[in-house]
Structures are given as C-alpha cells and as structure tokens.
Amino acid sequence: MMEQSVTYANLDNTIELKRKKKKKKSLRRECLLPLSPLILSLLPLQTLNKPWYRHLANEFARTFGSPFHRIQSSMILKFILGLFWYLLHIVVSLVHIWSYVIQQLRCYIISSGLFAKYRNFSLSRLRYLAVVVDSQEAKHTAKIKQLLSWLSAIGVKHVALYDAEGVLKKSIDFGQTRLRDRSAGTCLDGDVNCVTSRNYEEMSIELLSFTDGKEGIAKAASFLCSDHLKNDSDGCGRTETLFTEANMTKALKAVGYYGPEPDLLLVYGLARCHLGFPPWRLRYTEIMHMGPLKSMKYSAIVKALYDFSKKYQNYGKTICYFICS
C-alpha cells in the first residue's frame, strides 16, 4: 500500500513537472513570435545551407525542445549574425569616412599652394593618360569637359576617355573635330564602334568604349586568322612567327583598333574597376581610383599625377611570386 502511494506520488510529480515545462515553452513562443518577420527578412540563404550551421542551429534548438522552437532558435541566430554583420560594415564605413576627411584636407592643402612640390613636378613620364568613367556619370557632359580642361591646364598632352556603353562618343562635341581614319574607311559621327580622336586645346583626346577592347582584339584575331589560312605552304614554321604579340599589335593597327598603352589610368566611379578598358593596352598601366565624377577635384588630379611621377617601375624583373622590389 505504501509503495503504491509513493509510486502515485511520483507520477503526480512527473505530470506536474511536464505541465510546468509546457507552460515555459509556450511563454517563450509568445515572446519570439512578433520578431519573426523582422528576423526572416534579414538573412541570406548561404549561411542556412552550410552543414555546420544546420548542426549548430539544431543543437541550439534541441535545448529548447520542440520543432517549432527549432525554427525560432535559428531565427534568433540569424538575427544575431545579421547584427554583427551590420556592425562590421559600420566599422568599414567609419574608416572610409575618416580617409575621406583626410583626403579632403589634403586637397585643401594642395589647392592652397602651400607645397611647392605639387606646383612643380615633371610630367615627362606621363606620355599617355587614360580616364575611365562610369557610363551613368559620363552623361554629365559639362563635368567631362571640365575634367578635360583641368587635364589640359596641368599639361597632359594625350588623353584616352573610356566609358563602357559609348556614351562619351555620342555626347562629346567639340568646336573642331578630327576623325581618325581606319583601314575600312573614315568613320562617321553616329558610328559608336569608331575610335574617334579629337583635338582640344593642344591636347589630343581619344574616345573609347567597350567594343574597342575585346571586339577589337577579336577583329585583329580574324585578320591574323585569314592571313594564316591564306598561307598554306609554309606550315608550322610560319605559324610560330605569325602568332606573336608584335603581329597582334600590327593586326590591331590594320583593323583600326590600335592605340598607345596609357602610363596612368584614372578611374571615376564608385569602385576601383577598369570596366572593360581595352586589355591589350592595360598591361603595365598604373590604375588609380579617384571616386565618383560628381565629386571630382582639381587637387585630387594633381595629387594623382604627382604620386605617379614619383613611382618607380621594375618591369618584370621584380614582379614575381617570390621576388619583389
């Protein structure tokens, strides 16, 4: 009889414990439900697919018990991850703000003319300058013309202006124009595939677009290919001498897509990206990111050209996996 009463008492306790656990779980559920839409909207799928993450989420959820809470726990995890990610990016943004402030100070000092070195430096190493502009920003023709007048004032003699969509070729119009002849004939104003060059206050300007890059090389390749197919008799020896970089340069000239390699490339856009500038001309070009075109500054260009004039290049001898200058 005693044993039976003890057993019944144990059973009562167990049932009571289970009832209390259920109450706790339902309370947790009620607290988390309002947050779920916010949490769901935050995370990418990449994290969810990682096996270690699923394991971690499952372990976490198992402590809370029910399958429903497994979902809620992974939502909390997602929320925490998202929060840390935003925090990391806030740190990055703060660093960028700080370097922007330093840059503005530097520009102010340069434009005040305090340092003589920024007023008198040699541009002898800069034979050809290229400027890459984001196509959306290239539509601001006034800004482009201002940029060109600044470059001309500094003393740059040859400029290539590039934008991926050919907006510059359509929109830039100068007082006097001189079109470059191609072997196929003189190119027309409306032909955006044409490499056009113009004179602007003693500075020659070349306008380029995406089609002058890869498509130009493809056309030069076609030229070499037709040459190769025409000459049947020489066989292998001829092949080895035909497909050289020098012959590619000659082929580019023949199809009208040749241009000198710029020493310096200024990128105006939100990111440091050359956006498809002709690959054959980009081999050893120094690339500098200037920021968006709308916030361009004369002193920033002066700084970029000054830094370029101070650079020392070691072509090939030191650019190596294990060796550096």
Binding site: T47, F84, E165, L229, M248, G276, W280, I287, G316, S325
Partner: protein, 285 residues
Amino acid sequence: MEKQGGIVTSNLLGSASRLLRKCLFSILSFGPMPTHIAFIMDGNRRYAKKRSIKQGVGHRDGFTTLTSNLKYCYEMGVKYVTVYAFSIDNFKRDSSEVRFLMDLMKEKIDELLKQDSVINRYGARVNFWGNLDLLSEPVRSAAKELMASTASNKGPVLSVCVAYTSADEIMHAVQEVCRERRERLQREHGRVNGMGNETDSDVSVADLEQHFYTAGCPDPDIVIRTSGETRLSNFLLWQSTNSHLQNPVRLWPEFSLRHLIWAILEYQRVYSYLEDTRNLSKKNE
C-alpha cells in the same frame, strides 16, 4: 608528459581558432560572398629586406601565407582561387634567381602532392595556367602530375598562373582558334589555300574565350595585389572587366586573415555597383 600537454593545448587552441573563424565567416556570409578571388602575390623580397632575413626565407613565408589564405578562402566557401606565381616577364631576372625559383616551385608542388596537404584536405582541383613549355622539365612534369592527380576532384579550385601573361594567353587562344579553323577547312576541302569563305576566318569574342586557360572558370570578383602596387602587370586583363581591383599596402607574407576579411568587406560594400556594371556588360556583349 609535458609534450603531450603541449600537443593537447595546441589542439585545443586550433579547435578554438577554427570555431572562431567559423563564427566570423558565418557573419560575413550574411552579405554577398565572392565566388572567385585572384591574388597577385607581390612583396616577398621587400618583406625579407624589412625583416633582415634571406630572400629564400621570405619566399617560404610567402608560400606559408598562400596555404593559410587558401584554407581561409575554402572555409569561407570561395570556390575559385587564382594566384599569380610567375610571369613570363620574370624570366628576365638573373638566371641564378630563376633557377632558385624553379627549384622552390618544384619543392612546393611536391609538397602539395602529399596526402596531408591543404589541397587534399579540401579535395581541391589544381590548374596551372600559362605557357608551361617555358618551364624547366622537372617543374613542368611536377605541375602536370599535380593537375592530373587532382583533375577529378569536385572541391574548390586553385589556379596557379605560372609562365603566364594575359597577352600570351590571348595569343595562345588566337593560335588555337586558327589551328582549329585550318583543320576544319582541311577536313572539308582537302586543302586550305584558296578555299573557304571569308567567314571562315571570322573570330568572335566567344571563340577566343573558349580557348583561354581560364575557360570554364568564372571571372574573378576580386583581384588583390599586395604591397600597394597599382598595376595589373599583365594578369587576367581580359577577365577582370568587372572585378574589384584592390591594392592593400601589406606585403604578401604579412597578408593575414584580417586583411582577407577586410578585402571581402570592401567587396561587399561595392557589390551592388559591380553587379549593375556586370549586367550592363552582359547586355553589351
């Protein structure tokens, strides 16, 4: 007893750092992650000079950095990693240095062939891109052996550019396309001279891209050149149309996890702009 204790401690530390890295990478994965990162590993000799150590030690530290960064990239889920190991222009160096580099490369390739290397741990596939005929015979055969032994691996991909320049890659592609056209014409007409249409010699951008060493590999999302240099030095000029070009001032052997994480964060900042330009250039093609 102490040695065992030391081993246990280092295992614990290793596990702890792995766990921390996992947490960090899970946070990073909240944003867009790159699929392909390319490294121009510049700065080894400057590093050796700075630390007043021998150049050879600088090179070895550079290789250690390479394996660590490979490990971090693969843990993060970056499927393709490309490194610029040796340019064709580098053959201009002193013959003794070139010979030293070739020996070092052979030694490191042999290390990668071992069972416990980072390559085998992740089931990675290794490619060697470049004009391999310019390499010495031992290096070339070791490279081909590594490529063959990892060819069937389905894991992440490591591409090592050795005896490579972008210009040489383009010329190689042109040559291959022309050779194929010639063979096709010979099959169709029996001889080449004077036969075929004008369109037989037409080469398109797609034709060239199919014959690049990089065919089948997506364009790099990020191209990182260490030691602060701003030029690409004939590396992936065709493929880096919409890549984020980064040039951290750190020398290559000093490029650690935090610099890699910073690089990814910088990429995530400009991701939407790069996506827009990528879509625009697809339209242009």
